[in-house]
Every structure is written in C-alpha cells, then in structure tokens.
C-alpha cells in the first residue's frame, strides 16, 4: 500500500473518532442547566469538555491529513450532514436523564478499551490522544456505572425509565464494532484498535453493570447502521443546526 492510500484510511479513521467525540460532547452540553442536580450539570459538562478536547486535536489532525486547508472549526462548523462520520450512538438523542446515562454507559464502556488499545497505535498522534482520553474515559465509565446502578436498582419509576432508555439506545451499539475496509486495513497496520477484540470487553463491562442495576439486556434484531458513511438520524440535522448556527451566521467572528 502506498502512502497516499494510508493517509486516506487514516483520515477517515481520525475523522470518525473526532466526530464521535464532537457530537457526543454537543449532545451532553444540552444538559447545561437542565440536569436533575447542580452536580450533574457540572459532571456532564466536564465529560463534554473532555470529549471536545479530544475532538479538537483529532479534527485538527484530520484537517492536516486532508490537506485542503480546513482547520478544526472548518470541519466542525462548515460540513453538512453527509460529511459527518460519527456513529449513531453518539448522535442519538439523550432522552431523559435515565436514557442519557444508559447511553453514557454504552459509550464509555466502548471508549475506555478503545483508547487503551489505541495508546499502542503506530500513529503517534492517535496514541497521544488515546493516552489522555483513556484516563478520562475511566472517570466517565465510573460516573455512568454509578448512575445506571442507582437508577436501575432505585425506585420502580427510575428502573422503568432507565430500562426504557436503554432499549432506545441499545440498537445503535452494534455499529460500534463494525469492521469495514478502512478499519480492517488500519488494524492490519497497527493503527486502529480491533473491533473484534473490543466487543467482548464491552459486553463484559455492560453486562456486569446491568446485572448489578437489576436491568435486562435488551433483545433486538434491529441493528441500524450508516453513521460512518454519513447516513444519520433525523435528529442529527437539528443538532448540527444548533451547533453550527453561530459560526455560519457570523463567519470569522471573534470575541
């Protein structure tokens, strides 16, 4: 494989990781001033900030790999829906607090082993981002775990709602472990982490937490996909409108 081909794969992979972080950071920010407790406003926005930090570095790098002069802002604010490659789980609506926590559990249980594996990536920048993000994802997972257990093993109402939220977001988790050509080639080259190795780690973590939370593992044969190729949920357009509106209305504005 020549260097140009490697760059295309690396660009796609870096962009996916960056888009995942950016879009989930935006989703979590929607909880600002709306969380059930002040502490949760702080917690969810701290997590959003960690994700945004990783996204900024990844998107900056994606812009360099692309070589068209787009920086992190260009990629975050000036791309349209089909150009985003985030997974559906990251962009899915947060629903109520129980659903947001269910999603945080599924996401963090995925990102922790993902970043841990990527610390050994042959790509220096991915390894660097992963080294920091792995430490942060451990906090995110602890946070999600404690809330899912508290809600699941809480009142009848909290149990019902977090189970319902879990059913909503669960189908989007299958896409995380898809192994398309880009991933397969990069795994081969020691750049990407292997989804086949991530899946059992994720399952063990999630199953253990759900058991402790007295929640049922959802049973579904619906495995929606498309995020990696730019086919997004209807709600994604609304997310982008809110995220991009200011930048597009006032290009180049500074404060």
């Amino acid at each position: 494989m020549n260097d140009t081909a490697l760059d295309t794969d690396l660009l796609a992979y870096t962009l996916r990781l960056g888009d995942d972080c950016l879009v989930l950071g935006q989703r979590l920010s929607e909880w600002a001033a709306r969380s059930p407790q002040l502490e949760e406003d702080v917690a969810l926005l701290n997590i959003a900030l960690d994700l945004l930090g990783a996204a900024r570095t990844l998107l900056t790098r994606a812009g360099e790999l692309e070589g068209k002069g787009r920086d992190e802002d260009g990629l975050a604010f000036l791309r349209d829906e089909p150009a985003f490659t985030c997974g559906l789980l990251f962009e899915a609506e947060g629903g109520d607090f129980g659903q947001t926590m269910a999603r945080q559990l599924l996401v963090s249980a995925y990102q922790l082993p993902l970043w841990q594996a990527l610390t050994a990536s042959s790509d220096e920048l991915l390894a660097g981002v992963a080294g920091k993000a792995a430490k942060e994802a451990a906090y995110h997972l602890d946070h999600a775990r404690s809330w899912v257990v508290r809600l699941g093993d809480g009142t009848e109402e909290s149990h019902r709602r977090v189970q319902q939220g879990l059913e909503e977001v669960w189908p989007y988790s299958f896409e995380l472990f898809e192994r398309d050509d880009v991933v397969a080639r990069l795994v081969e080259r020691g750049v990407a982490s292997d989804p086949d190795l991530l899946r059992p780690v994720w399952e063990t973590t999630v199953t253990e937490v759900l058991k402790e939370a007295t929640l049922e593992v959802p049973q579904t044969t619906w495995h929606p996909t498309g995020g990696r190729s730019g086919k997004h949920l209807t709600s994604f357009g609304y997310l982008l409108a809110e995220m991009q509106h200011l930048h597009r209305s006032h290009p180049g504005a500074r404060w």
Binding site: N46, G53, G128, K132
Partner: protein, 160 residues
C-alpha cells in the same frame, strides 16, 4: 537569554484557573530550550479539554518577551500524558493552603493508613471524615468533596 534565565521567568507563570500554583509546580511545564530558534517552551495539558491552554501559552510568551526574549515558541505535547505525580511537593502545599485538597498519591513515602477507600483530608480543619459529592467540579482536574466535621465543601485535586 539562557535556559536558567528562561526558567526563572517561567517560575512566575501561574495556572490561570488556580492562580496560586505555577505551571512548573503543576507539572505541565515539560521542557525549556534555548537555541538558534529562540526560547522553545514545551507544555502539556492536564485534561484533553483544558480551556486554559491558550491562556497559558499566551502567558508564557508574554512573560518571556517582557524579560527580553526575542523569539518564543510554545509547543503543546500530549504524550507522555500528564499525571498528578508530576506535581511538586511545593505545589501540593500551596494547593492545600489555598483550600484545595491536593492529590492523595505522594511521590515519596507511603500514603497514610486508612480503612476503606482513600479520602483527602479537609483543607480547612484537617479532618479525614470527608465524602465525595461528585467526581467533577469547576475545572476538569478537581472533584467536589464535603467535610463531615466542619461541614465545609471543598475542592479536591483528583489523582490522575
């Protein structure tokens, strides 16, 4: 400007969000070089999304320029990832005096023996009867705690 001089100047640059601690004591100042390209300063963020990095970069630049450096380059590196192990003993004391419980791990010597999980001592009254309110706080690097003895809430600089 020599490396020594540059280091002396940088010893005065503090963290914008916790202005009592210097970037050196916090462990985010990783390297200082002086060469044909001027002064090259390497810093690393505490957390990925630390919003203070740009301000720290600007502070480093202006402090060195005020001291007479012609050319200053500030590099940000992610690897190796910052850890609270890099915080100096002086930095830990400063935080505690400021009312922020420092990270629990100490680089030298054993940690105090306690039953159950490690808890930071209250920076107000030194009681160990403390509880975590949330893992997260006003900045990424801190958690919110409360003292059971004096009832004061306080920030704890998380082990990381």
């Amino acid at each position: 400007m020599t490396v020594e001089q540059a280091r002396t100047v940088l010893a005065e640059v503090t963290d914008p969000e916790i202005p009592v601690i210097t970037i050196e004591d916090l462990g985010i100042l990783r390297d200082v070089q002086v060469g044909a390209d001027g002064v090259v300063v390497t810093i690393t963020p505490t957390y990925s999304g630390c919003p203070a990095m740009q301000e720290i970069e600007a502070d480093v630049r202006s402090a060195l320029q005020r001291a007479g450096a012609d050319r200053v380059e500030v590099r940000t590196v992610l690897s190796p990832a910052w850890t609270t192990d890099w915080m100096s003993d002086a930095g830990r004391r400063t935080l505690e005096e400021f009312g922020i419980a420092p990270p629990l791990r100490t680089r030298s010597g054993p940690v105090p023996v306690q039953l159950g999980p490690l808890r930071p001592a209250c920076p107000q009254c030194a009681s160990r009867d403390t509880e975590e309110l949330t893992r997260f706080s006003s900045t990424s690097c801190k958690a919110m705690w409360r003292c059971g003895t004096c009832r004061e809430p306080f920030d704890h600089f998380k082990d990381h």
